[in-house]
Chain length 144, copies 2
């Protein structure tokens, strides 16, 4: 069994130029949501770990804008590790996926596009709560 099919890396445009490279992202165009919120992690000590949560509704695109780090995704059934180290490769994380970030390189920048504004109520911060939520058997249409 693999992770949810909608988890995927997305190759973003890269305009190459001897004066520097440029990557751009437009909501609804390169990613399947509008960009309501952008955040970035920086000054992360080398080898540090972050994350450890899932979202009920939020979708995200995670990018190593500088340096590298690993993202460990868990859909409640299986885990998979993604190493991000290219500014034009984003990792799309749909709703209901537990994520942890680790193995940050020195000077790395983790850039995230988010589909919703901040809402503490959208978080699962306890792994067991998350696992229970995703593993509840779905009722068939006739049972609703």
């Amino acid at each position: 069994m693999t992770l949810k099919a909608d988890i995927r890396t997305i190759k973003l445009p890269k305009i190459q130029d001897p004066r520097g490279n440029l990557t751009f992202i437009e909501g609804g165009q390169h990613i399947p949501f509008d960009i309501q919120r952008v955040y970035y992690l920086y000054d992360v000590p080398a080898g540090e770990m972050r994350g450890g949560h899932a979202h009920k509704e939020l979708q995200q695109l995670v990018i190593a804008a500088s340096g590298s780090f690993d993202v460990i995704l868990d859909d409640g059934y299986k885990q998979q590790r993604y190493t991000l180290n290219r500014p034009n490769i984003g990792l799309f994380i749909p709703r209901l996926v537990w994520r942890e970030l680790e193995n940050f390189s020195s000077g790395s920048v983790c850039l995230v596009m988010a589909s919703l504004r901040y809402d503490e109520g959208d978080y699962y911060r306890d792994y067991q709560d998350f696992k229970q939520a995703v593993q509840i058997p779905q009722s068939a249409p006739g049972e609703r």
Copy 2:
């Protein structure tokens, strides 16, 4: 005479944590526009120069997500230089401002939030065209 009053640096939220710092931006909340497009410049050779254009309608917030660089703004009357070197300080650039970026440090990342999708027709790429556009005397209300 100073530059247009609406050019300004914006102090963004910074959530400090020994595991790394986090800065976030929500459209319409920390900046006066919705985020339609995000782009970033990277792999810029140290000391390199970019930019040299203005926008008819586009508004932007420019951030040094890593490293540092200078932004030289020109409203058609006067120039001013801004050194960006903090991930939680953004430079808000309204429409009709000529910008050049230079003095990039090695490994710097220039992160930009933009109010509109890409539109080549929104650019002034010739400084004289730009200057002519912004210096046209405005007609008084009674003359319209």
